[in-house]
Symmetry: C2
Subunit: 410 residues, 2 copies
Amino acid sequence: MAIPVSPLAPKSYPDLPAIAGVRFATAEAGIKYKNRTDVLLMAFDEGTVAAGVVTKSKCSSAAVDWCKANLPGGVARGLVVNSGNANAFTGAKGQKSVELTADFAAKALGCAPSEIFLASTGVIGEPLDASKFAGVLDTMATRLVDTPWMDPAKAIMTTDTFPKLSGAIFDIDGTEVKINGIAKGSGMIAPDMATMLSFVVTDMPIAAPVLQALLAKHTQTSFNAITVDSDTSTSDTLLAFATGKADVDAIESLDDPRAETFGEALRDVLFDLAIQVVRDGEGATKQVSIHVEGAVDDASAFRIGKAIADSPLVKTAIAGEDANWGRVVMAVGKAGEPADRDKLAIRFGDLLVAKDGERAAVYDEAATSAYMKGEDLELTVSLGLGEGKATVYTCDLTHGYITINGDYRS
Amino acid sequence: MAIPVSPLAPKSYPDLPAIAGVRFATAEAGIKYKNRTDVLLMAFDEGTVAAGVVTKSKCSSAAVDWCKANLPGGVARGLVVNSGNANAFTGAKGQKSVELTADFAAKALGCAPSEIFLASTGVIGEPLDASKFAGVLDTMATRLVDTPWMDPAKAIMTTDTFPKLSGAIFDIDGTEVKINGIAKGSGMIAPDMATMLSFVVTDMPIAAPVLQALLAKHTQTSFNAITVDSDTSTSDTLLAFATGKADVDAIESLDDPRAETFGEALRDVLFDLAIQVVRDGEGATKQVSIHVEGAVDDASAFRIGKAIADSPLVKTAIAGEDANWGRVVMAVGKAGEPADRDKLAIRFGDLLVAKDGERAAVYDEAATSAYMKGEDLELTVSLGLGEGKATVYTCDLTHGYITINGDYRS
């Protein structure tokens, strides 16, 4: 089944620069896909620190369990990612498979297995034959390069229709510092976790706990604020690595004013990658930003935003370019959060469609319908109860989603 | 847009008998649909008691608010149902519209407006012009009949592709007692409320609080255990009316052993109607019963069942006849309920597919794939943690759902 490239794909891709302290190689291990790269090996110089956020699924994959065990160490020398098999729900076999993979990678890179991070996505429940990596990782370790970043972005794709890259270059103490990030994900995407997979690398010298804190903070408004289909993956993993090669003093504490500068650059990269995941949502033809304001608090606003973003009826109406704001009302109503029907206002873009619990007097069907034909839509729900606000990002629900997911495994 | 009749529609419809104390008429008021009945008037003899369960939506419709206000009275003389317009999120106009409709009906039937129950489904946010009912209800009151029940079942349909009827005849103290029920609903169907609309009438003499208690109890395992698309309607209403015309002593208390006999018959009718709603789920081609057992308690089992039943990835896999049990694992994992990956077992029908946190040794891909081609599927998830169990009923997610909902309003 050939899936067409998302109409929301970027017109061009950034040419990310090399980052001192990290090199990589990709290969075809033939795990599921033929004639495309499906393994990524990333090698970090000594002194690289790691931070990460993983899925909250109760059925997390073997690779996620491995990362959870190694993250407290905060030290990374290698990352192995495969696509085509999630190594999730594979029991003791899955655990052995990650141990074996980490051993192969550690030998190839000359480090301890606990310094290797792993991520796998693809089919759930199929045992992953780690012996396929044996020779492959050794060979990869002999041909590590520092560009182009397009290669790792492509090697981690599954149902993605385009590779996802983002970077930032900014100034710290007069020195140029860089962050490069890649991500994959298209379906089984819902907030309250990291995305399917994303890897971010910086040359900033920064203590692991500070990197972890900034990563966790900015995940909330990026990967945790997106949803494609309300389905939370078993494999979601977001890892950040800091090689420390930029020639500036390290950020040792969140109180260091440079933590904010670095954090903002990190946030921009995470947000850009998260939005790219939404724009490659399975079958997506429109990107929708759902703003909720006037809720009793931010958490309530977020849950209302997610109820709207996850509603199949709202998403199919958007796909049909139908200004069906009644379905937005329905989704607010079902969220179970404080809401007063008679204080509710809804805007599509700048167009007021509903106010004070009924259709707005200024409602203009022709203008609203014309707005719905756009590719990037903004829906704003004002609850009129308090100061709580949140934004959730999603895409529409189309025949493409059904086609892709009615025949993914076979 | 012509929607084909659901492939899961019944092969034949029951010919429900007359129930003493209730008569009805249907009419074409031209609210939205042309050339089909869209209003139902049901008239009850004096002495009829009422019970009801309505949506928990925070944006409930004006008709729902009206029913909520009148249910404590427990007395009914009339019911007016219209299809094509939900009169939801219509503000003060909506409230006036229900008051006016109840006034028209009360005059036509010679009773108090507070003895009239109302229900509306269809588009949300469009003001409902109650003046359309003025002459219509008067005329309807002059041509009330007691059969065929097919007529009211058809008048309340919106995107339904078949009318939904169910009845029970049983013995109480040697006297034949009857329950007739009708329902409508096809999309915007999710548990934790009543269904879109269902009306049940019995000739059993029974006190309103007893009827209410039995109705609430049996809603839990019928209408509250179904989901089509996880979207909870603004208009969900289930009303039960007891005319008391059967020649037996009234059930005045839940301690009366006959309450159990009556309750079981009521449960059967509610369950039959609820399953018919699932089988007419928008775009449905398969009905799926999701059994969860071994959860820490029944409520936890239900939430896990609902997470599976609401998962777009599980539903599209079922549509594609793909035995993708990995997606069932994913849905268990995202439910947020206690679950131990390594104790999980999954069966499709009688076929064991996963056990102890991995694919079962006896897993038979050919047999499982053959099972998926059936029209009625049973999925069982065993958590191995406790005694909690629940069943949730749903349908698959197909191109039909997208087609219907991408162009419903226009």
